[in-house]
Every structure is written in C-alpha cells, then in structure tokens.
Subunit: 268 residues, 3 copies
C-alpha cells in the first residue's frame, strides 16, 4: 500500500494548525469561490493586485496562486511583480493557465511566466497543459476538448520541459514531478457542471504548497482534497447549485482521516 | 395552440448537443453567476476582455453577450473590439444595458453600441429599454421604477427604432421583433430578490442565440427557460439564498419537455 | 432595559419602506454577496466606478459604501470622486478598511480617506481599526490576529481620533461614537468561516445609514441584523456553504420584531 494518503493527512493537519496566508491574483469569475475554499480548507486568503502593495503582500504569504483566467496587461504586470517577490523569498508559486490554447495571447503569456519565473506547480486541464508544452490540443474557451497525448504523458512532459510539478485535472487527475506520475481517482462528474472548480483545485494545491516544500505532495494533497470533498458533496447534491454548497461544506469538514479512508492515489 | 413551446424545446435540444461557446464581457457583480448558468443550460462560458485577445476569443464563440453593468472606459474599449469582431463574423450580439437611464454616461454608452454595431437582441428591464428609445422612465441604480409606456409598446418601439429583437423582463416578459410582440407569463417573484437575475436571463438568451439564427425565438426561449426554472426553484426555496441554489439546479435539469408542459407563451 | 432593539426595529421598518439606493465601490471578491445582502435587507444596490458617472450615481444614493479590499489606483480615484460627491450632498459614507495594517499602501490609503473626507462610519476588524488609529496590531492578509488594546478602547479611540462612529466586529461587536461604547453579543462562529462576512456587515450598516442620520444607531442596527441573521442561519447550516445560503434567506426574512426578541445590545 502506498503511503500517499497518510502523507496527505499529515499536510492537512499542518495546514489547519498553521493557517498560512495564500495570496491570489486570479480571475474575476472565481474570486469569491477561491477565497472561500482557501478558508474552508484551513488557510487564510488574500487578494491584492495593486503594484504599490503586491510585493509586500506576497512576502506575508505561504504561497502565491497566479491564475490567468481574465488576464489583462495591468493584471499581468501585477502578477509579474508578485512572482518576482515570491521567487526572491522562496515562496512557492502555483500557476493556473486558464484558457491557454484558446488564444495566442493566453498561450504566450502563460509561457512567459513559465520561462521567466521559477513556478513550482502548474495546474491545468489537459488541453491547457498540452498546449503549453507543445502537444497539439483543442481548448474551447476555457474547456479542454481533446489532446494528441494522454494525460500521464503530458504531465510528465510538462514537468520535464518546465522543471516543475505538473498537475492535470480531468476524469482522473495526474500529477508528475518529471520522474513519477501519480494518478488520483477521486472526484465526481458534478465538478464539470460548475464554473471555477479547476480554479478551486488550484487554490487547494496552493494551500497545501504553503505548508510543505514537497511540490508533488502538495499537488496530490490538494487534488485529492477536492476529489474526496466532491464525492461527499455529490451525495447531498441535486444539481450544480446544491453541489457547490455541499462542496464548500465538505471541504470545511474534510478530516485528515478522510484521506486514509477514501483517497484513491496510485502510481502510474 | 401556439407552436412556441415546441420550437423552444428544439432549440434547447440543439444547445445541449452543440455546447456552443458564449463569450461574455460583463459586469463584476454577476460574472460567477452568468458563467454558471451558461454551463447549466448546456453551453460553455468564456470571459475575456484583454484587447490583445478579445477578437480572437469572439471568433471561437457562438454568441457574444455584452453587459454594461460596471462599465469603465477600458472595458468599453474591449467591448467595442469584441462587437466589431462579432459583426464581422456574423456572430450574434446580445446587449444588456444595465442601469441605462440611471446616469447620462450609461445611457450614452448603451446608445452608442446600438448605433455603432449590429445588435441582435437587446434585453433589459422596462426602465432601461424605455430610456434607450426615448420613452420617459425612472431607473434607480439598476432597478426600473416606472415608465411612461407599457412593456409591449416599449418592446415594439425599441425593436423598430434599433432594428433588433427587444426583450423586456418584468412580472411578465415581452419580446418583440418589431412586428409581433410575444408575452411570457412564466417567472416568480423571488427573481426580484436576487441580484443578477436579469443578467442571467440575458446569458440564457445568448446561449439560445448561439444555436438559432431566429433572434425572436432565441429571446423567447432564453426567457422562458429562466421563467420555468424559477417556478421550479420556488417550490424548493425558503428565501433568496436557497432560491438561487435551486434555480441553478433547475436550469441544469431543464428538459425540452418542460417547455411543452409549462411554458406560458402568447402573442399579444 | 435599553431601547436599542426598538430603535433598530424602527429603522429596519423604514428601510423596507423607503428602499434606498446604496452605492458601493467595493472589492471584486464580495461584490455579488454585498449586492445580494443589500437587496435582502430591503435596499437597492448599485455598483459603479467609472469616473464619468460615479458622482452622478452617488447623488441618487442614500449612502455610499467604500471598501478598499482589492484597491488599485484607478479604483481609489473613483472612490475619491464618489466621496467628494457624497460629502457635497451630505450622503453618509461607510468605510471598510479591508486589510489595513497588512501593507503600508493599504494603511496609508485608508488613512487618506479618513483625513480627506468626512466619513460617517468606519467598520473593520480589530486589527484594521487599531492600525488606523495607531494602536499596535497584526493583520495577516485581511484577518486580524491581535491588537495591543481591547475592542471597546479601540472603538472609542478611533471614534474620537477620526470624529466618526467606529464599529469593530469580532466575537462581540463594539460600536462607539466617541462618547459611549455599545456592545452587540449576537453573531455566530460560522461567520468566520466564510469570506466577505465583514464586508456584508458593512453593507448592512450602509443600508441602515441610508435611512437614519444617527450613525451610532445605523451601525448598531446593521451589525445586530447580521448577528441575529447569523444565529438563525446557524440553525440550518451544516458548514460554511449552507450557512451562506441560510444567512441570505435569514436576512431577507429578518423582521423588526426579531430585534425585540433576539438582539443582545448593551452599553459597555
């Protein structure tokens, strides 16, 4: 038996004790949801993007989440200031390349972050991550339609190409540090019926990354949290609206022990 | 018996099959809600406003929703780029003139869009639409207080003045293509207790417009969807919070058959 | 027995009758939530920040809520235009100094508003308000960690220093006009598990301030509304997600009579 569930449980416990600050510069659509799941998993959210304060705020944080969902030049400038401060302070950065592949601008801007900064974890869907590492894929808006390679391959390639931990969410989630690939079989179909669940997963990964230097573990722990909470929420949900409510409740009540009893984490 | 319910049902079926992309440039207050109802009705939402990508994103979309709720010059610039690309590609535009009439700036900016671009569908409340076509009305913030003409008249006048389909929501919804006026008697009082329900209705109209070239049908179908879902949601709601949750659930579960059994659509 | 509950009840009744417009310039994270609670308590929300219209919109409003949560220079400029128009029209301003103390920029910008404009009510957490009036405190992101003085002292000092009514929310809320300090013992732990509950409380204070010139009463009424609704919501909630839904329902159903039966308001 793998010791992943146990290790995830330990990190969640630490997270609840330390209550790290997770700084987000993220898209307008999901700000409320990602601030909420940050709180529910046990961390403290902050959102700040003014160039006058963004570096100061990063220095207080345990992790920085950059999400390019509704990107524009002023926000990209703020993200770059934040990324520079994070790298200078060895604060882990989690990048969510929302819609990379949908337009050249999104693809280019995300690639620029990967090139110019040390990104610790890249969390996207198959189409986004495939696009970024040069695998042919179709992204319709912010939705992955298909890719020319399977998720484990793409995760491995992205991890090696960009020297980071790559996390691809989908029916099965795949995480790779460039050597191994870990699959997480938790989750639920309802996640696809709600906007921002990918962004929320990225936030959870950021919260975990704030309390462990092990990027692979942070990604696995964050995604398994989302998957397990989704399974619990689905039992109470009657549609995407009630699923969201139940998901927030479930994340708040998620216990370290839930990893031991429910996590489906395997090496590929 | 009118064949409107059947025609609406056919469009909803097509919508669920084609899953068109609906591009929004909309206000900050409702972004999460409108992205969610786009998904729930069966389409794919995207929100993008950077001038560097906005035209590229429009070209991927089946419809463009422009909502001037928290307008500012940079966002208006983005909307104009998007509208130009949409007109060039014959992609239908649905305009939501939030708060037109409340300030001269809002009124002027909305009129400019109506003048400078081919808008397919205008969806507003009575005060907003009346103001835009020169009928005396009072708009308090984003709320219609009264107007000097009745909704059917205003819808007809707006449709003729601006050469588009005009949809006015209220206790009864009215839609006109400049020749006929269609009334929709579905809906529920709870809709007025929740922010953004007008914006969500506009989004649904946009999703329908993405899969039918018949603007009148798209407007009727979108508004009837909202009205029927609201009636279903009201049965489970105990207040505006639980109504919103139930409304999202109901839109997701809305079936073509629901139009046949519940839609109250009549010619005025 | 104090007559506070009765006085709060009278203001709520007036609020429901007059339906005043409450203009917000606020942070991206909570816009949807604050617009909703404005509606639920019985007022009309509007959000506008374009320099071309912001003063026009303020003039229609019964109160102006300024919330510096995701501040940036363009938004600060808009807030200053709005504040000037509000002061010129004797429209009460409620200031929410989100995250003051977390970065020098936030502290400075909030102090500038307190210095440059007549602010009627300042609503923050202990760390924020303490920082603003020079009491040592720690603010982690937007969360108060501790302060070198107790809430009643800080409320009294802030009220005197800035010549306004200061409202500090926490396990117990404290409000002072510089002479007396009022404590409100309503509320619930769930409020700390949800983002934006402080911002929502500020909004409620703004709605009350729109219908009474008595700033102390507006602050007490707004905070007691939040506290009572939270207690009612907690009875139906199973976690932060369902608590939010129930809180929105409860605010909508809050009755003047609920103050008489449930409000725990005392002079300190």
């Amino acid at each position: 038996m793998s010791d992943w569930p146990e290790r995830c449980a330990t990190v969640l416990e630490r997270l609840r004790q330390q209550k790290p600050l997770v700084h987000h510069i993220t898209n307008f659509v999901v700000m409320n949801d990602t601030a909420n799941v940050t709180l529910h998993i046990g961390a403290l959210p902050v959102m700040a993007h003014a160039p006058e304060e963004v570096a100061d705020m990063v220095r207080l944080a345990g992790a920085l989440v950059l999400n390019l969902g509704t990107l524009s030049q002023p926000w990209l400038d703020a993200m770059r200031l934040a990324a520079r401060a994070a790298n200078a302070g060895s604060i882990p950065i989690v990048l969510d390349p929302v819609g990379a592949g949908a337009t050249p601008f999104r693809t280019d801007q995300n690639r620029a972050f990967l090139q110019d900064f040390r990104i610790h974890i890249l969390r996207g869907n198959l189409g986004e991550v495939a696009t970024l590492c040069g695998v042919t894929a179709e992204v319709r808006g912010v939705e992955a339609m298909h890719a020319a390679a399977a998720p484990p391959e793409v995760a491995l390639k992205a991890a090696n190409d960009f020297k980071l931990t790559a996390a691809i969410t989908g029916a099965v989630d795949h995480v790779s540090d460039g050597r191994q690939v870990i699959a997480i079989d938790n989750g639920h179909h309802w996640l696809t019926t709600l906007t921002g669940t990918g962004c929320m997963a990225t936030t959870l990964v950021g919260a975990f990354a704030a309390v462990t230097p092990d990027a692979l573990l942070a990604a696995v722990g964050g995604l398994a949290s989302m998957g397990i909470a989704a399974e619990q929420a689905a039992q109470k949900a009657q549609g995407p609206g009630s699923f969201k409510v139940a998901l927030q409740d479930a994340l708040y009540h998620l216990k370290p022990d839930d990893f031991l009893r429910r996590a489906k984490i395997r090496e590929v």
